[in-house]
Amino acid sequence: MTIAMPLPDADTLERREEIAAALRAIVPGEGVITDADALRPWESDGLTAYRQPPMLVVLPETVEQVSAVLRWCHAEGVKVVPRGSGTSLSGGALPLADAVLLGMGKFKRVLDIDYEDRIAVVQPGVTNLAITQAVEGRGFYYAPDPSSQIACTIGGNVAENSGGVHCLKYGLTTNNVLGVELVLMNGEIVRLGGRHLDPVGLDLLGVVVGSEGLLGVVTEVTVRILPKPETARAVLVGFPDAERAGACVAQVIAEGIIPAGMEMMDRPAIHAAEAFVKVGYPLDVGALLIVEVDGPAAECDHLIEEIARIANANGAVTTRISRDETERAAFWAGRKAAFPAVGRISPDYYCMDGTIPRRRLPEVLRRMEELSRQYGLGVANVFHAGDGNLHPLILYDANVPGELDKAEAFGNDILRLCVEVGGVLTGEHGVGIEKRDLMPEMFSEEDLKQQQRVKCAFDPDLLLNPGKVFPVLHRCAELGRMHVHHGVVPHPELPRF
């Protein structure tokens, strides 16, 4: 528990009753939760090591209510933390003791589906999977597919720019969203993008996607939907070691194939998954690769043979091509259950999310093994191999004093390693609180200040989701914003540097 949150503001805590009353006037009935027991379920997100009951929870049902809540909080200097389903793995939705938790769970309607233009307009509390369910009857789906898709909301996906196993071919959330309605911290409602491609002006939508709830509250999302591929096939390949699996991945891409998904697991992950779901994964291999292609049957049949050929040329020891949907599902079952499977072999696990240039994989795995020995904690690796996104699962026991701290330190070392080899701290889970203090590993003070200036343009009082993403939150005035009228600087005679 090494990550510190901003100290709660004593005045705000004292005003709790008054704040609750004011919010009840905006969101009547059951929409404001203050009872200590009722607050407990809201005290953490998917990063469960960190818990903090919010000052209170408000559950608005209309955009007008969201706007009024934010306007009131803005005027009164009260902090707000937006929340979807609370599946964030980086603590992005962790409540603050002195902040209102703004739950978007009641925004559950699919507002419009336009099959001709292939878009769906939905409220932010709609789950990722529910979008696909709403359109699959007509042969469409929503492409980004985080493993948490039955639970996570599209509002959370927008905030985190979530990916999934198919994002190598179909992109992340940002590549599949056309527009949002956003409520700024001052209550102002703005629309960014809409129902067509490439809207005029600066791409503010592009910055809002992935902004982790720090720029505004998303109240409506327009996504692109795609025709469901005619078919999909997968091949399951075992390699003696990760080097050879990595070489296979590189050659698949070098030969011009962008598979729909390309997942790798290391030995501990394979064993945990097989013990859990028993789908017939080979146990005598060092690395397992699942490569899936989708599209017209003729394409899948052609590519799957090509991939099997490449795999064999790179030293595969087992190669199985799915013959039917049942077998394809079985190949995936182990991978999809990898997290809970690891949860069975270890009392607790901590999921990391760095990305590396793929060619550095063998070296990174080797050094991770060394770290594992050094910290005395096991690690199992699942890996979005196509795009270099690693998910090391660090095994620990929270009941052993000091192990959580050790797991966090191990995780931080892994992320530093990712940055050192030319990669990044997070490929899809977001910075949140988890990687906040590591940001200087990747960005200089100036780089971070530039990002924070953008934050100031949306939320100059820094009231929305504070304590997340930025290791140090400078007051906006300190960042040197100045008024400029028609290109004329006030007092041009004064030196500014």
Binding site: D117, R118, D203, K228, E299, T355, M439, S444, V454
Partner: protein, 376 residues
């Protein structure tokens, strides 16, 4: 024209301008100089900041300096069987920096995205002369705000990019164009929507004035063949389709993608919900417009001789946005190049602009700026 040799020159130039209250206009090949209002700002050419820094085809990542000619970048990746998937079409002298800063895309936009979707990371110098880094050099990254998105399509209004990291993708082995002719605008549109909504994986769809539609099928040979066999059946209710030879197809795609040889002294580029494209061109044909349509109807090029903003008004009435991409100087002085935005979004945009360029060094009057957006 100022010609910095490296980043440090550039920082100095921008810092001086910021302190001195001067305006600067960034440019690469300046092929888009005719976009936007006439202005007097001193030009800063980034052409000398050129060259490839790193290209690793297997990682699908390319890092270049902004002044590198687009043609050179395209030749380099083509040599490795890859492409810039957003299909920039460039022009004599276009640079990669100007191409990305103009937020361009070609016909493949509907399925592959535009420049914004392929800019992974960058280095830049802000309007206060400070160098910063944003994004990264790997294809999957969500660390910090996605500033590369906003730098793509920023038209030199935020910061000067000094290094760009782009995602590259394999080039399709085979590309076939199917064509249908003699359709009404509405029937042609319905056929395009049907093809794009089918699982035949059509990567581009365009319509030309005169009732022609083009459908692009690209990929591995067996797949392309199978889809070309399936499409006539999928489109049976709409129209028969034929295969075009690559030589016959190229000029037709060029016309759709670039608005090419449309007759008219004033050129508009309209982005709109595709379902309204047919209605829009019907209304504009009535006032003598020539047009071409790409992105399945999401992009409409309009050429007219009239110098009022009727075209923009018609586009807006159908939920579209019209950019004035080429016009006589007198008209460009009068009518903003970019479609006006709703007040709230415009003010937010202006605050964001000043988050990069507090002194307004790059606010050259080329595009409309909001006078005071500080009403927070």
């Amino acid at each position: 024209m100022l010609e910095p040799r490296d980043e440090s020159d550039l920082r100095e130039i921008i810092t001086d301008a910021a302190v001195g209250g001067k305006n600067l206009e960034l440019c690469g090949g300046a092929t888009r100089a005719g976009f936007g209002a006439p202005r007097e700002a001193e030009q800063v050419s980034l052409r000398a900041l050129a060259g490839v820094i790193d290209y690793d085809p297997a990682e699908l990542v390319l890092t270049v300096r902004p002044g590198t000619p687009l043609a050179e970048v395209q030749a380099l990746v083509e040599g490795e069987g890859q492409m810039l998937a957003f299909e920039p079409w460039g022009g004599e002298g276009a640079t990669i920096g100007g191409t990305v800063a103009a937020g361009v895309a070609g016909s493949r936009r509907v399925t592959a995205g535009s420049a914004r979707d392929h800019l992974l990371g960058l280095k830049a110098v802000s309007g206060s002369g400070t160098a910063f880094v944003a994004g990264a050099k790997v294809v999957k990254n969500v660390t910090g705000y996605d500033l590369p998105k906003i730098m793509a399509g920023s038209w030199g209004r935020l910061a000067a990019m000094t290094e760009l990291t782009l995602k590259v993708l394999p080039r399709p082995r085979e590309t076939v164009t199917l064509v249908a002719r003699g359709l009404s605008v509405e029937a042609a549109h319905a056929a395009m929507a049907c093809a794009l909504g089918s699982n035949a994986d059509v990567s581009a769809a365009a319509q030309l004035q005169g009732g022609e539609i083009l459908l692009r099928v690209a990929g591995f040979v067996p797949s392309v063949e199978a889809r070309c066999l399936a499409l006539p059946g999928l489109l049976a209710a709409h129209c028969p389709v034929d295969r075009l030879t690559a030589d016959d197809a190229a000029p037709l795609w060029w016309r759709a993608m670039t608005g090419g040889d449309l007759h008219g002294s004033v050129r508009w580029k309209i982005h709109l919900p595709p379902r309204h494209a047919a209605g829009l061109v019907r209304r504009l044909e009535a006032v003598g417009a020539n047009w071409a349509m790409d992105w399945g109807g999401g992009l409409v090029w309009i050429a007219v001789d009239r110098t009022d903003d009727l075209v923009r008004a018609e586009a807006a009435a159908l939920g579209g946005e019209a950019a004035l991409v080429a016009a006589p100087e007198e008209m460009r002085a009068r009518i903003p190049a970019m479609h006006p935005r709703a007040t709230g979004a415009a003010m937010l945009e202006d605050r964001v602009r000043r988050a990069f360029d507090p002194q307004g060094v790059f606010a050259t009057n080329r595009f409309e700026e909001v006078a005071d957006a500080d009403q927070l």
